[in-house]
């Protein structure tokens, strides 16, 4: 039991996920095409400590969702290991238990069965895993879950279409919490929601983390959401981690040129942001990534070594960075002073206290 507490909840070791995207064999034969492999995730390692939030950020196609899906067990890794509480997540456990892990998806309109009542949606994991012994017990458990996400037990009788996007995401969270997981994989949980609703869901996620001691793997392209939620951060580019470490450290002293440019490029409501350089160009196709460091075509610091030799993650003061320029001392950490104070002087404030709707 003591080992159980010491081990990180999740350890991802050298994860690879490659997809075969070749044309059909006959067409390949006739047109003499080679096989093609999409290296969606190409050697990613990280660990998540109990009760913390690890966030993955990157532009589309960087592989962040594939990592999330592999962790959730929706993809089998091509190579590498995913250890949940020190045990490979795909191996049978001695006591027959399963990893206590659930997933919240981006689109609350597509992830709930429209023909089922909410109480049945939430009760499904209880039924499948035989966690309750009687109907009355199931009903009580569903009511408790609904209250945990600030919905009323009476809402269980309704169908998903009767709820707004934010309420539906609450239902998804209630369903994810049904079999008392320790770990939640959250893939863009608020990207489909309006900002005011996003705030409700983020507040709920933080409260649940405090109360239930949950551990989160959070996938998002929104850096402000990540700043608000994450303890540790991994920045991904074309299937690899380019920088990883404590989130505050990366936001305040980004080292990798991609991280620096990404932080500059993101639109933010802080109005005073001088000396910004924008990220130029677009993400190259992951089917034919550039040789060497895959970021070199867009990098202002690239030299011949960057164009031929892929960099490895190396430690720099608590943060790991994969960049030759950082390793050789050609670039220094960029100090970012975020000044959000400007907007902190509203004339009046809406009370953050919960009021009945």
């Amino acid at each position: 039991m003591s080992e159980d507490i010491l081990a990180p909840v999740l350890e991802v070791d050298n994860l690879h996920k490659w997809f075969d995207v070749s044309k059909p064999p006959l067409q390949r034969l006739i047109e003499r095409l080679p096989r093609q492999t999409l290296k969606a995730v190409d050697g990613v390692s990280f660990r998540i400590e109990r009760g913390t939030t690890f966030a993955l950020v990157g532009e589309s196609g960087c592989g962040k969702s594939t990592v999330a899906q592999a962790v959730a067990g929706l993809h089998k890794p091509t190579r590498g290991a995913i250890l949940f509480e020190g045990i490979d997540r795909d191996l049978p456990r001695p006591d027959g238990s399963r990893p206590e892990l659930q997933m919240i998806f981006q689109d609350p309109f597509a992830s709930l069965n429209p023909r089922w009542r909410v109480r049945d949606i939430i009760a499904e994991p209880l039924r499948v895993h035989r966690l309750t012994r009687s109907r009355a017990e199931t009903r009580a458990a569903v009511a408790e879950l609904l209250e945990q996400v600030r919905l009323s037990p009476a809402d269980g009788e309704k169908y998903p279409h009767e709820f707004s996007g934010g309420q539906r995401q609450r239902i998804s969270i209630a369903r994810a919490l049904a079999n008392k997981p320790k770990f939640l994989v959250c893939d863009e949980p608020t990207s489909a929601l309006d900002v005011s609703v996003q705030a409700q869901i983020l507040n709920l996620m933080k409260r649940l983390q405090r109360e239930l001691g949950l551990t989160y793997l959070l996938i998002s392209h929104n850096l402000a959401v990540i700043y608000h939620m994450a303890d540790e951060l991994g920045v991904m580019y074309l299937g690899r981690l380019v920088e990883t470490g404590p989130a505050r450290e990366i936001f305040n002293r980004p080292r990798h040129p991609y991280t620096q440019l990404l932080l500059d490029t993101i639109p933010d409501i802080s109005l005073d942001r001088p000396h910004r350089t924008f990220l130029k160009g677009e993400v190259p196709s992951p089917i034919a990534p550039p040789p060497g460091c895959t970021f070199h075509p867009r990098c202002p610091h690239a030299n011949d070594r960057c164009r031929t030799e892929p960099p490895r993650l190396e430690s720099f003061g608590g943060v790991k960075v994969a960049c030759h320029a950082v390793g050789e001392g050609r670039i220094v950490p960029a100090v970012r002073e975020w000044r959000p104070a400007a907007r902190r002087t509203p004339v009046r404030r809406v009370s953050p206290v919960a009021r009945p709707a």
């Binding site: 490029t265 639109p267 933010d268 802080s270 953050p352 919960a354 009021r355 709707a357």
Partner: protein, 338 residues
């Protein structure tokens, strides 16, 4: 990359677009739903007006009403829309078709569905140019190449005969912008133009939109739910709630000193890098459905500062600092509020 804080536009110049007391309603068997209720705003030459609000607040509907693309059973039930001083809301269908494309350009969210997959980019551009401008086929093609270069497509003379699927998402959105600019419109309506794009591409497209106002004096109505996009692009912002304008004013004022309790809550709910708060400001509840808009101020069930008159009397836009807010808290005339 600091945006100049002075409004670029000439405040004295007559507005390009003026919307006065616009009412859009949907007439159905179950009754009439007012989707836009007494919406008024104007956009000056070269100015970018950001329109923000939650889904269902009426942002896109306002854009659709201006370009005359309301879908049945929605229709304009009151008010006026003036383009450069001329009424366009009551134009016959055929005349409105000429205004659209020629004087008003539109950019929508998804660049793939805005382009015809069966025609080359050049064919689509020259068709639009030929429809609106009296140019020979050769001159139209030259103009199309010029437009593609202007929106930043590399080697436009080579790319003009490519099909939309040959372009990446960001490049496709550039093509859509080129299409919107074919006839040098006075007004461009951009409805969530960067929502489907990556941040690096988004920054490039926003720069392109800013250039429209700067270099061509085009007025832009930028509809988005992303406060960051508004902060970096718009000169003024209109905040919409339940089909009404809750607050309108200069971008800096709206973000730094919002006046309407809804705007205050909305701005507080945006997570900001560098701000260490355990919880975000949360506006509980959700926006009312169109068939359940409460009497008086539409925000009253969720408002922390609701007063007696908010429940029965609807507030109009009143001066509030450098902005205008539709809130009785701003009422200094009758003296009901402090």
């Amino acid at each position: 990359m600091q945006r100049d804080q002075q409004p670029r536009s000439d405040a004295a110049a007559p507005p390009i677009l003026e919307v006065r007391n616009l009412v859009v309603a949907f007439h159905g068997l179950a009754g009439t739903l007012r989707a836009l209720d007494d919406v008024s705003f104007s956009i000056a030459p070269g100015e970018i007006l950001g329109v923000v609000g939650e889904s269902g607040a009426g942002k896109s509907l306002t854009g659709a009403a201006v370009i005359g693309l309301l879908e049945r059973p929605g229709r304009i039930d009151g008010g006026e829309i003036l383009l450069a001083g001329r009424r366009i809301d009551n134009l016959p269908h055929a005349q409105m078709r000429k205004v659209r494309g020629r004087e008003i350009g539109a950019i929508f969210q998804d660049p793939l569905t805005s382009l015809n997959p069966l025609l080359t980019v050049g064919e689509q551009l020259t068709e639009t140019i030929a429809t609106h401008l009296a140019l020979s086929a050769k001159a139209a093609r030259a103009r199309a190449v010029e437009l593609l270069a202007e929106v930043g497509i590399p080697a436009p003379a080579n790319r003009i005969d490519d099909y939309p699927h040959h372009f990446s998402g960001g490049m496709r959105q550039r093509v859509v912008i080129a299409l919107a600019l074919c006839a040098n419109p006075k007004l461009v309506i951009a409805d969530e133009p960067t929502t489907a794009l990556d941040v690096s591409v988004q920054a490039q497209i926003l720069e392109l939109i800013r250039r429209l106002g700067r270099e061509h004096g085009t007025a832009v109505m930028l509809i988005t739910h992303d406060m960051g996009v508004i902060a970096e692009t718009a000169d003024r912002v209109a905040v919409m709630y339940a089909g009404r304008v809750a607050e309108i004013g200069p971008t800096r004022e709206i973000i730094e000193t919002p006046h309407h309790p809804y705007t205050v809550g909305l701005m507080g709910s945006v997570p900001v890098i560098g701000e260490d708060a355990e919880d975000l400001v949360q506006i509980d509840g959700s926006m009312p459905r169109l068939n359940a808009i409460p009497p008086g101020c539409a925000f009253n069930p969720r408002c922390g500062e609701v007063m007696g008159r908010c429940l029965s009397q609807r507030p109009g836009l009143m001066p509030a600092g450098r902005s205008q807010a539709a809130c009785w808290l701003m009422d200094t005339v009758t003296g009901d509020a402090a």
